[in-house]
């Protein structure tokens, strides 16, 4: 298996749709791909005790998160016949309605891409040392809890 070194997956602020489009476009030269699966996490304007969430502010234990993401990446590549795998996670403030997570898998046949994408999203949420503070409209905050 090809060695893969830890890549930086963190982006300051929201992930733009132009960035996502660019990432998709780059795959048009890889003509062994038959299916792409994409998951996008978007910040919800939940209401908490009558106050709306206006943004989430993400912090991270970066060295540990990148090492853990590297392990997850290797495990998923070993389990599924993927052509490509890309993961981006926001740090800092991401406003409600903006994209904070972009997981992108590609394979010759759709099943591998689809399953690997789901596994990645679950593992990222469960295993990466990242914390989200939900900033409310009155500038107080509360800490996000993952389901």
């Amino acid at each position: 298996m090809k060695e893969r070194t830890p890549k930086n997956i963190f982006i300051q602020g929201a992930i733009s749709s132009a960035f996502i489009a660019d990432s998709i476009q780059k795959h048009s030269t890889k003509t062994d791909i038959g299916g792409h699966s994409i998951f996008l996490g978007q910040v919800r304007a939940d209401e908490i005790e009558g106050k709306k969430v206006v943004a989430i502010e993400y912090t991270v234990y970066e060295e540990m998160a990148l090492q853990k993401m590297h392990e997850i990446r290797e495990a998923v590549f070993a389990e599924y016949p993927l052509t490509c795998m890309h993961v981006y996670h926001s740090l800092g403030k991401v406003a409600a309605g903006e994209i904070c997570l972009f997981v992108f898998t590609s394979s010759a046949h759709r099943k591998a891409a689809t399953e690997a994408c789901s596994v990645l999203v679950e593992r990222i949420k469960a295993e990466l040392p990242v914390w989200g503070a939900e900033i409310l409209e009155d500038e107080t905050h509360q800490w996000k809890v993952n389901q």
């Binding site: 993400y58 234990y61 540990m64 990222i124 990242v130 993952n146």
Partner: protein
């Protein structure tokens, strides 16, 4: 020994990083921290030593980096 705090623990402890000396294992470390920051004793967290999550006790060396991490909430 460098102790790192993340997420809501930064607010509980009031800092992202402490240097503590003379501590030889995790139990001694957490006991000392709970005494200093009573709210920390009521907080849910896991401990990582040099970026590896540790359950139970473990001997600590001066050059270990210990992280106290509340439940992850990325994505």
């Amino acid at each position: 020994m460098k102790i790192l705090f993340f997420g809501q623990l930064v607010e509980v402890v009031g800092t992202k990083e402490l240097i503590i000396e003379g501590i030889t294992d995790i139990h001694a470390l957490t006991s000392s921290l709970h005494q200093q920051f009573p709210l920390l004793a009521q907080s849910k967290y896991v401990v990582a030593v040099d970026q590896e999550i540790v359950s139970g006790n473990q001997h600590l060396h001066e050059n270990n980096i210990v992280a106290l991490m509340p439940p992850f909430s990325g994505g």
